[in-house]
Symmetry: C2
Subunit: 429 residues, 2 copies
């Protein structure tokens, strides 16, 4: 893990990248054979970076290099290279506390904003699998372990206040990435903004109604303030199903370049929102009525278990390893103290559930009216069919954001989703 | 404002201090005359530092030097010198945004942990004046301007998220001072701790009841977590009446070495708690029944105005200068948007009031059962009389912490205090 002098940044196109890796003995050995024989493929389909797969005679690696701008938009939208270093810091931390659930780190060069990682094969981006209607039986166990451990062990429940403040300071410089979230998730979808787009004309009236919905604007602004000023734990910061690679039995969380100390519900809500969107998109991918019913049932069951297993694991960690400066056990001695602390743990999780519901709603609306959409909806070929699926998701999200308190359990969320499965929205045009 | 090399720290006793200031032309000129003629007096009565007044032929200055340990306890309790630099950073920021309400900074030497400031004359520590029964007509206006401006202009309501995160990071290293607060205010008074003390034997039973009161332990733990993980604004961090110097018409806030980004209610609650303690202590300072009635009425009226004027000024700043990333005005266009945003401002202040009530309670209990007491109570000569005043304050504080929601307005706080003015507590022994 070396860092060259700042100012040495250059984009490593294929030959230069080959030379760079050839100069790293461990990686050259892992790839095997002559560097000239290594096969390079550019595979990045994300919004921000270059991603290459490099394969040699004996093995392969994934290489990610940050560009000094947003790839999705171009050089007109600059973005600091330092995000690659924050991603590396986050991956390192996640590897410690959630081992086996992130790709192994092989090399990081801070000046080049370049990281070499284990090649994940035959994993695919989970979102692609969900579009195809694939069920992932190992997913719930893995993602809830990942979230419970990364969130708990970086929180005040596990750390001293000094360690926590050091962590917050270490990631404070990643504010340009936070700003993307603040603008694209918490602001732009609710006002006229050049980069917004939606399935027109069908959702025109719905888009306009969101821009005029002051209850929604208050709710999204409260969530934005929470996002900015509630450093509860080190978040992944972009934990959608495009940041998760899966096989039937393995799960790896990738791409934590949005990492920072924020509210836990933002990560948990991201997972739930993206599953709920996969559920609503599913109807748009049917070729025959009901052919995806088993998949859809699995998705909603997964939503329920994501919350319940996360909550169970988080609580177990707190009970067993709650040695942070918050809720010191010395104040809860005896049977009565233990019972009162346990009740407080439940209250903490109840509050975290409400945050999760709100953030899940925010993550949904941005995918339908903001800049960055997702293939769950985008690959529904017929725009009107797509708009129907999107409108159902928005109806649920609006309720989750404005009437958060009426969703008391995760079954309230899945129950509401199920009721909207065949709801016919009024569309424009 | 120069900083020598780290490692150059030494305690500047009187001759060395004289030499140091003689080497600073601006300060030497301000003092006037020969350095040998300057009069030096050690005046520090705080818990942590050395404080000198240096007077020359034409003027005087105050000099504060941090010791590498807690002065109140001794070398067995080390404390980082860096706190002097955080104090300097905070004073500089406060001077910008609340001009005229902090002492002017004349010199800062980071390596020596030494700051030279304007000599405040004829100001006295406000707490001493309150013990004497003095009313300060200028206080409410000044302290509410100080709090409204320092809290608003360092919050997400005024700053971009990037500026806010930079501020949080700049003060994150001051965690040793935060830890003092976390231990001495939010933990130790509620458990057996070597450094606790109280007016024994009279408050023995009350001290024991607090250690067994699990509702109180939940409430103080929630406040502690909020203190640790809610960086709403740059706090003074120790805003009691011993950190305020006054004349009849001037107010200066001093000693912000506990500064960090925390919950606004902690500063507002500190002011209110210390006034409420002055109110309950007043009965103990009477030589004739009722002789301090006018003072006591002024104190409670001041408590009410501290909140109401703070809230009014804070709201006015938000309306006029709310250009931060939180609650973007672009989401609240039109008459309906403006009305909804105004309602949300009121809700924000209502939530801040609840925090204030809780933190005020925490600040009260620590002064009666923790390490650091205050002269409001300590100077009540007869221990039993002192215990009576203290028990009244604790009764109110316990209600404010556990039943925070029942205090809906500041008049609920002052009304409850008034009812307890002549309450006869049961004492031990």
């Amino acid at each position: 893990m070396t860092g060259d002098r700042a100012g040495d940044y250059r984009i490593l196109h294929e030959a230069a990248l080959r030379d760079h890796l050839a100069g790293l003995p461990d990686i050259a050995a892992l790839l095997g054979g002559e560097p000239a024989s290594w096969e390079i493929t550019e595979v990045g389909d994300g919004n921000l970076n270059l991603v290459f797969i490099m394969k040699g005679a004996s093995g392969g690696v994934a290489v990610k290099q940050a560009l000094p701008y947003v790839r999705l938009v171009g050089e007109s939208w600059p973005l600091p290279l330092s995000r690659a270093h924050y991603e590396y810091l986050a991956l390192s931390r996640q590897a410690q506390i959630a081992p086996g659930l992130v790709p192994a780190l092989l090399h990081h060069n801070e000046a080049l904003a370049l990281t070499v990682m284990e090649l994940l094969e035959p994993h695919i981006i989970m979102r692609k699998g969900l579009v195809a209607g694939t069920q992932y039986p190992g997913f719930v166990g893995d993602i809830t372990t990942f979230m419970a451990r990364t969130l708990f062990f970086t929180s005040d429940l596990a750390l001293s206040a000094a360690e926590k403040k050091e962590g917050i300071a270490a990631f404070a410089g990643n504010h340009a990435l936070c700003k993307i979230t603040e603008d694209l998730i918490f602001t732009d979808p609710y006002r006229i903004a050049e980069q917004n787009r939606w399935t027109a004309p069908y959702l025109n009236a719905l888009a306009a109604s969101l821009r005029d919905d002051m209850e929604l604007h208050v709710a999204i602004s409260r969530l934005k303030l929470k996002f900015m000023a509630s450093p509860e734990a080190l978040l992944h910061g972009d934990l959608h199903t495009g940041s998760i690679m899966v096989t039937d039995h393995q799960t790896r969380v990738i791409d934590p370049e949005f990492a920072f100390y924020g509210p836990m519900g933002f990560d948990v809500g991201a997972v739930i929102a993206n599953l709920v969107m996969a559920y609503f998109a599913s109807a748009g991918h049917e070729r025959a009525t009901g052919e995806r019913a088993a998949f859809e049932a699995w998705v909603l069951e997964t939503v329920e278990k994501v919350w319940s297993e996360f909550a169970r694991k988080f609580l177990d960690l707190w009970r067993a390893e709650g040695t942070g400066d918050a809720y010191p056990v010395s104040l809860f001695a005896g049977a009565q103290g233990a019972a009162r602390l346990e009740a407080e743990r439940q209250a903490y999780l109840h509050r975290l559930f409400a945050d999760t519901v709100g953030f899940a709603a925010a993550k949904t609306i941005r995918r339908i009216f903001g800049l960055a959409h997702n293939i769950d909806f985008e690959l529904i070929e017929h725009p009107k069919k797509r708009a129907v699926s999107e409108a159902r998701a928005v109806r649920l999200a609006r309720a989750m954001m404005v009437e958060t308190g009426t969703f008391r359990t995760i079954a309230d969320v899945t129950g509401a989703a199920r009721k909207l499965r065949d709801w016919r929205p009024e569309l424009t045009g």
